[in-house]
Symmetry: C2
Subunit: 187 residues, 2 copies
DNA sequence: AAGAAGAATTGACCACTGGTTAATTAAATG
DNA sequence: CATTTAATTAACCAGTGGTCAATTCTTCTT
């Protein structure tokens, strides 16, 4: 037993790529190390040469999703306060419901390390969410309220996750929810 | 092989009782059929004589928690509109965070049957939540807004779940969140 | 070119999970 | 007492994440 012939070297990138592919259709617990390995034509043991464990692998997978989310927030900065804020709300829910498995791992699971949202990446995204909205409103909002808003959007995603396939199936409800929160935020 | 001697008959009640006990400290995925069985001094196979599967067993376990939740809602009916509504918000978050494993199974997991919240019991509790608040406000509220409120409380529970041990550790945030939602609800 | 050193892969294994079932034993019934 | 019936067991299945000694392939050195 030894090296691979077909795909020659099994790089970290290839593994992440395949894990990402399967993650699009199945959630964390349903994507197994063995299924990733067999798709790559190797055994699951070899993945452990490149990654310490399953969590580390999937942390690598979701990196780009955090980038996407942060990017989205930045893109809303050149808008009017109200419009920009609503845009962020909508986009957040859209992101969460169009990347359900990933969202879950990013903000809920992460169960290797006690508190998902205290991890660097989730924390950073949360901070960016708050800072961006605060900036749109020239620091006139109460941070607690922005935090409550985040929690409420988080709730929307987790409420509809599993019930619907894609964001569009909850578009109307999302719009109503966004208006509801916007009203509470800007009084 | 055969009957039990120690606890004589292994009734459904005894199994539910033990599952409930372990459910207080560990979540659904960490409570195994084997651990329940061994605590009862039998093998896990025998549990399957009384319950079709793990989900059915835990459905029996959470029955009383749905009753608790519904009871709580009814107890808030003889209060003033604003006070009663806030009371419900607080109590809901308190329930969720003081029964984290159970809450998760009641409203998130239930993964055998696609949509947890469309299951009879969760659905009934959600309806009671909406109806109770509507009644406190003499049907003057928009149902969509009450629904958004529920989602936001749901979000609060799931956000703090795992981060804190008990509700009291998030008491201040819960109060702020309740005020935030109350404002949005009654304009 | 030969051989040693190192990197990468394998397969067999571990402990665990939910779930099934033939065989067995206990209790209830005639 | 015998027979039926209810309950329990142990052995098994397929699956999971994870580990590791043995092996093979690559590369570097002499």
């Amino acid at each position: 037993m030894g090296r691979k012939q077909i795909k020659d070297t099994l790089s970290k990138e290839l593994i992440v790529e395949e894990a990402d592919r399967q993650f699009l259709e199945l959630d964390f617990n349903k994507v197994s190390m063995r299924s990733i390995a067999s798709a790559l034509g190797c055994t699951h043991g070899s993945i452990y040469y490149h990654f310490q464990n399953k969590e580390e692998l999937f942390n690598a997978v979701i990196e780009k999703y955090f980038t996407m989310l942060n990017q989205m927030l930045e893109n809303s900065l050149n808008l009017d306060a109200i419009e920009g804020t609503k845009q962020i709300f909508i986009n957040y829910m859209q992101f969460g419901l169009n990347n359900q498995s990933q969202y879950d791992f990013m903000f809920v699971q992460h169960h290797g390390l006690e508190d998902p949202l205290q991890q660097p990446a989730p924390r950073k995204s949360l901070k960016k969410f708050i800072d961006t909205i605060q900036e749109l409103h020239q620091n006139r909002l109460k941070e607690d309220n922005i935090h409550s808003t985040f929690i409420s959007l988080h709730g929307f995603v987790l409420y509809y996750k599993g019930r619907i396939e894609r964001y569009d199936d909850a578009k109307i409800a999302a719009n109503a929810h966004a208006d509801f929160l916007l009203k509470a935020l800007v009084i």
